[in-house]
């Protein structure tokens, strides 16, 4: 047993000498195929019951490697699971059997917007319903009733951000946060325009404005606004990656430049394969070299269960940025 905590900044990332290097895409695809549950979905880790978010990203990861023969059947079963899991109101719950939708609807919509989904079946209705739910899903803050109540009770705002710039919350009727807002924007941007419900463009504009409003002066994003937690927030790799992916249309904005600079500076120090693969996915979309061997090493370090979601991101991260259109690129449907 160790004594005092070590100074982690001084210690290089540990590599487990017993584990062989993880090879992408071959081992990533094999892992996804082998860790798929019999019902067609994926859990957050192998052997866990199927959940919407890992299933959506696993399917997208396989979609990015469509050349691999073993992907096809696995992908078809994954899409079928997603379609089965959709609720009557068009949303997706976090886990099969739950009765209320959440931010995972965006991930499911993003998967349904992928190229192979349209080759396999006809996801138009499911996708359109999902998008309708997303566009109707407003956060709990910022509406006229909420403003009136706060004014009446003389409540101080919880943060300095503009509550009129309404994004998306994790769950219905709660506050808007960076990650669910970015995911919803990605889903709406990836879907064919003809499936966009009324008000989709308004929501996209508001969501983008909210993300830009929440960019930190130091560069990058935290999970919420700069002062959500009561102090000057520090940027985090995950939220920064999400925001940058969702704001690719605003290439020359100062917030984007500062955020991308920050992510490029810190990406090699990002802890954890989950965060690291997400950061690599973001950098890949922006055409920034991140180093495949670093990404492969992230999966071979330590004794930890590998996440299908992170593998999905990693497979998307190794797709050439100029490659065929995928869910995270402009759709050609």
């Amino acid at each position: 047993m160790r004594g005092l905590e070590t100074d982690h900044d001084q210690v290089p990332q540990e590599i487990n000498p017993n584990s062989a290097p993880f090879s992408l895409p071959t081992q990533g695809v094999r892992f996804l195929v082998e860790s798929q549950n019999p019902d067609g979905g994926w859990g957050f880790h192998a052997a866990l019951s199927s959940a919407t978010e890992p299933t959506a990203w696993a399917v997208m990861g396989l979609d990015a490697c469509a050349g691999h023969v073993e992907c096809r059947q696995s992908e078809e079963k994954g899409f079928a699971w997603l379609e089965e899991c959709q609720l009557q109101d068009g949303s997706w719950p976090a886990h099969l059997g739950q009765r209320e939708g959440s931010w995972v609807t965006s991930a499911a919509c993003l998967a349904l917007a992928s190229k192979r989904c349209w080759l396999i079946g006809d996801p138009e209705e499911a996708l359109a319903k999902g998008l309708r739910w997303l566009v109707k899903s407003w956060p709990g803050e910022g509406n006229p009733w909420w403003r009136l109540r706060r004014a009446k009770l003389k409540l101080r705002p919880a943060s300095r951000r503009d509550s009129g710039l309404r994004g998306w919350g994790w769950t219905p009727k709660t506050s808007g946060w960076v990650e669910p807002t970015a995911l919803a924007l990605l889903a709406l941007q990836a879907a064919p325009r003809e499936l966009h419900p009324k008000d989709a463009q308004k929501r996209i504009r508001l969501g983008q404005a909210m993300l830009l409003d929440q960019a930190l002066a130091t560069g990058g994003w935290n999970s919420g606004s700069s002062d959500s937690y009561g102090y000057a927030a520090r940027p985090q790799p995950g939220p920064t990656a999400w925001a940058l992916m969702a704001l690719r249309e605003q290439q020359h904005g100062p917030e984007i430049v500062a955020g991308l600079d920050w992510l490029c500076q810190i990406h090699s120090q990002v802890k954890g394969f989950f965060s690291f693969s997400l950061v690599c996915l973001c950098l890949n979309l922006w055409g920034v070299e991140y180093g495949l061997s670093h990404l492969e090493n992230a999966f071979s370090t330590g004794s930890k269960p590998i996440s299908p979601m992170a593998i999905g991101w990693a497979l998307l991260a190794i797709t050439p940025p100029e490659g065929p259109p995928g869910p995270l690129r402009a759709p050609e449907i």
Binding site: D7, H8, T174, S175, E179, G230, G272, F274, K304
Partner: protein, 316 residues
């Protein structure tokens, strides 16, 4: 013996609670020995049982004040195994940092508890089951909880000794926010904020009441906790089988009257003992352990208004 089924009783129907305060000057002393010795005083029936340790792992912090020390988590695991527990798992579902494994890598938990794939459960991504809440402090009525928590024989809350900007103090009851699964509610678990933090603490603690609490006060956090406070060396471990009594004792150690913390005051009505006369102190006397903490700015008024309860957390 499982707190989850423990009856909700008013103080006059509860036996006197016991709380043990132990000196541990640093994380290098024989913490497992200290914890085993204390657990023996409580005659805890963990022989052959599954034990789930729920520390407070918040984020990638370099001060050592934010997270329950992995040394304490590892020592508690060893202590319960020495007492004959069949299986001891460390489990956490961080509320703010989505990448649980990045935190574990940062704090090097594997060095203290062994292989993480066998000895650690990420509560944010575990199997979940919906449970009816036993109280109605919020309007949530039901929440999803991880099967690992619902299925364990013995649940141990292992918080850090901390002040908290929104709750006053963050101890063994507030630590239970980490059992609410992020896979269902996001990062942060914002639904609990909308339900009001003190009220949500009560509903969760009444439904999934810990069987035991071990508070890491060797280095605590004062001021703007849980994220932006300062390290405070107190050199203490605080333990007990009544989480309310443990939290009340910790508040007193920090120089805070627990009756002024709304959710603790309400918890003292049904979940455990708050009043000093109902708590028998073991180990170090409370008076010599007391080390006033700097209060968060949101709670400073408390120090000058002795009769004011900070947050209305339910009728008492």
């Amino acid at each position: 013996m499982n707190g989850k089924e423990s009856p909700l009783l008013p103080p006059h129907q509860r036996p006197v609670s016991r709380v043990c305060i132990r000196r541990a000057e640093s994380y290098t002393v024989d913490l497992a020995g200290v914890i085993v010795e204390s657990l023996r005083e409580f005659h805890i029936p963990v022989q052959g049982k599954s034990v789930l340790l729920k520390p407070n792992f918040v984020g990638l912090d370099s001060t050592g004040a934010m997270n329950t020390s992995p040394a304490v988590a590892g020592a508690a695991r060893e202590a319960f195994l020495r007492l004959g527990a069949r299986r001891v798992t460390v489990a956490e579902g961080p509320a703010l940092e989505r990448d649980t494994w990045a935190i574990l890598e940062w704090i090097r938990l594997r060095d203290y508890i062994g292989p993480l794939d066998r000895n650690f459960t990420d509560l944010n991504t575990d199997h979940v089951r919906q449970v009816e809440l036993r109280t109605r402090a919020t309007t949530l009525h039901r929440l999803y909880f991880p099967e690992s928590v619902l299925g364990t024989d013995f649940l141990v809350s292992m918080p850090k000794l901390k002040t908290h900007r929104w709750a006053g103090v963050s101890l063994s009851l507030k630590n239970l926010f980490g059992i609410v699964p992020g896979s269902c509610y996001g990062w942060p678990k914002n639904i609990l904020h909308w339900a009001q933090i003190p009220r949500a603490i009560l509903d969760i603690a009444s439904t999934v009441r810990p069987d035991f609490a071990i508070v890491d006060g060797i280095v605590g956090m004062e001021g703007e906790g849980p994220l932006d406070g300062k390290p405070k060396n107190t050199g203490l471990l605080v333990m007990g089988d009544d989480p309310v009594a443990v939290d009340a004792t910790c508040a007193r150690i920090m120089g805070i009257r627990p009756e002024r913390i709304g959710y603790l005051k309400a918890a003292g009505c049904l979940l455990g003992h708050l009043r000093e006369e109902n708590i028998r102190q073991l180990g170090e006397p409370l008076a010599s352990a007391t080390t006033p903490f700097e209060l968060p700015s949101t709670f400073r008024k408390l120090a000058t208004s002795p009769d004011k309860c900070v947050m209305k957390a339910g009728a008492c």
